[in-house]
């Protein structure tokens, strides 16, 4: 069955959702099984339309829940196809059980997660609660900061996940509404460039290879369970980083666009740095540039690869910085915050003795303004001058009512 190719302009004005849908079309997914949920709906809706209009040679499977969506993806991937889907928030939460199944079964499924708050109270807007919920699931997690990233990282994700030395599922995160529903210029690849970058799907241990029967989804008790989990962790810790780097390098060669495991902006001589993810990285970059004009040596560290966590690269990126703020966009649930904890862990065994403070911001889509970031950098400069954190270790940015701080 032949399918039609699509002529794209060099730069299209797309939101993050449509950029991801177009990337999935160009990668020619065999099976998309999905249960649409705001704000990720247009990704799978877009793919379904491409399929209906004969732009892809694949199968769109309608299911009754997100749990079923990922279950169908697992079946299709185990059978030997290229598989992807998308979800957000409550749908992601319902998928959690099957996320662990797909990573444990070493199935290279691609999941676009359009980050959204978790209820209650119900909220459709963007924060990182769902992204944080997935961080121990054994998936690779890549983070997009804008629609261009959401497009590019889909190609990169297939390249990494489907590599036979990796064979792990991969999430591509983008901020709900702030990226998913924000239209910006996206530089495109032609259909041939995009497809050739990911290449034909190379099955491994596929169930439809009837000459080589295999079992998927087996039971192992104390005799083998630990070895399986340890091997999966070993591959995440040792094999994924070089493959991610190779994929970034190959993509740069193809497109000229450079991605890094840890994104460093103005960090070479930075005294103060903000560590964050999602759209906030770009807003912080703009503010850091403005702070430098005011004489504050400000920098930004963006986490591009969230899992496996780039412990060593983070340590290197923050070397010599005097004051660091971590920005967590998820309710920390009685803890200092994921990024704060990870930075503390990475820095504790380094020579960098920075004043490290954590901030919780942007829950349920609350705006992070440039003014917030100007105040934050100013606070960090005071910490840098004093050589210690002058505020409580955990503060909230942008929440109404009395200023909240802990620790």
């Amino acid at each position: 069955m032949a399918f039609d190719k699509m002529e794209l302009r060099d730069i299209e004005v797309w939101d993050g959702n449509f950029a991801a849908a177009q990337a999935l079309r160009q990668c020619q997914i065999d099976v998309v099984a999905a249960y649409p949920i705001t704000p990720s709906t247009p990704i799978v809706e877009g793919y379904a339309k491409f399929e209906a209009d004969n732009f892809v040679e694949g199968q769109y499977v309608m299911v009754e829940s997100e749990h079923a969506a990922m279950s169908a993806c697992i079946g299709a991937s185990a059978a030997g196809g290229r598989v992807a889907t998308a979800t957000s928030s409550q749908g992601f939460a319902l998928m959690v059980e099957t996320l662990y199944q797909s990573s444990g079964m070493r199935l290279p499924i691609i999941l676009n997660v359009v980050n959204r708050a978790l209820a209650a109270p119900l909220n459709v807007n963007g924060d990182h609660s769902d992204m944080y919920l997935g961080r121990d699931s054994g998936w690779i997690q890549l983070d997009a900061y804008c629609p261009q990233d959401a497009y590019d990282l889909n190609f990169i994700a297939f390249k990494i996940a489907e590599d036979h030395d990796v064979r792990l599922p991969c999430m591509i995160h983008q901020d709900g509404f702030m990226t998913s529903h924000t239209a910006q210029g996206v530089k495109t690849l032609t259909d041939d460039e995009g497809y050739n970058f990911v290449g034909d799907f190379q099955p491994m241990n596929d169930m439809l290879d009837l000459d080589h029967p295999v079992s998927h989804g087996v039971q192992t008790e104390e005799d083998w369970h630990f070895e399986h989990k340890a091997r999966q962790h070993n591959d995440l810790m040792t094999k994924v980083f070089p493959k991610v780097q190779n994929a970034f390098d190959a993509f740069e060669k193809l497109s000229g666009r450079k991605y890094n495991i840890v994104e460093k902006y103005d960090m070479d001589d930075a005294d103060v740095a903000v560590v964050c993810m999602g759209t906030s990285v770009e807003t912080a970059r703009e503010v850091a540039t403005e702070m430098r004009a005011k004489g504050i040596k400000a920098g930004v560290v963006g986490i591009r690869l969230i899992r496996p966590f780039p412990f060593m690269q983070i340590k290197e990126a923050l070397e010599g910085v005097k004051a660091i703020a971590t920005l967590d966009r998820s309710a920390p649930g009685g803890a200092p915050g994921m990024l704060f904890n990870e930075m503390a862990g990475a820095l504790f065994n380094s020579d960098t003795r920075a004043a490290l403070s954590g901030y919780v911001y942007g829950l349920g889509g609350r705006d992070l303004t440039k003014k917030h970031l100007v105040d934050l950098y100013t606070e960090l400069q005071a910490n840098a001058d004093a050589g210690k954190v002058l505020t409580p270790l955990q503060q909230f940015i942008g929440v109404r009512g009395p200023k909240l701080s802990y620790l």
Binding site: T283, D367, T369
Partner: protein, 185 residues
């Protein structure tokens, strides 16, 4: 950086209008951003949409904006929401209404001393497109006030943006854009 805020009701096409404008501007080599506050996303609910235009890639993702232009595409929003919020001294307002600017300012004192232009996008849309979808006429009015692009260039590009619609609807939109361009005061 050029910044625009749209005041609309959900269903009147502000998001499509903002994205359409971004698409046309992008073809001229500028960097663009178009987004919206959906709120509870009920048809008819007041909502806002936004455009940013710059020579450099737009990295600012804050929703806060002090707009250079404010477009109001539903006449009642001038009274039920504050369309002047975060405005600058030189912010230009283009407002859909059957009144002239003087009558409008008299009816909404918050617009006193502001740079206010009026055009009846609702009437124009009803008479051309046949439905009260006032988004494309607003862009015609904007072309006149801002002198951003030649109106023929803009219409040509909007034909491409509206590409998938039936020819009759595209023709009606072109008529609406031209009428708003001619009629805005």
């Amino acid at each position: 950086m050029l910044e625009i805020r749209w005041h609309s009701r959900a269903g009147q096409g502000a998001v499509t209008g903002a994205k359409g404008l971004a698409d046309v501007v992008s073809t001229t080599g500028k960097q663009v951003q178009a987004f919206a506050f959906y709120g509870s996303a009920k048809r008819g609910a007041a909502m806002t949409a936004y455009n940013r235009v710059d020579d450099e890639v737009i990295m600012n993702h804050e929703k806060y904006m002090e707009p250079d232009y404010v477009f109001v595409i539903d006449p009642a929003l001038v009274y039920t929401t504050d369309v002047t919020v975060n405005a600058k001294a030189d912010t230009v307002f283009i407002i859909t209404t059957h009144m002239n600017a003087e009558e409008l300012v008299a009816s909404q004192p918050k617009l006193e001393g502001k740079n206010v232009h009026t055009v009846d996008c609702i009437k124009i849309a009803q008479e051309t497109i046949g439905r009260a979808i006032p988004n494309t006429p607003m862009l015609g009015a904007f072309m006149k006030i801002s002198k951003m692009y030649d109106i023929e260039f803009f219409k040509e590009n909007m034909i491409r943006v509206l590409g998938k619609l039936p020819q009759k609807i595209i023709d009606a939109n072109m008529l609406a854009i031209q009428r708003a361009y001619d009629e805005v005061k």
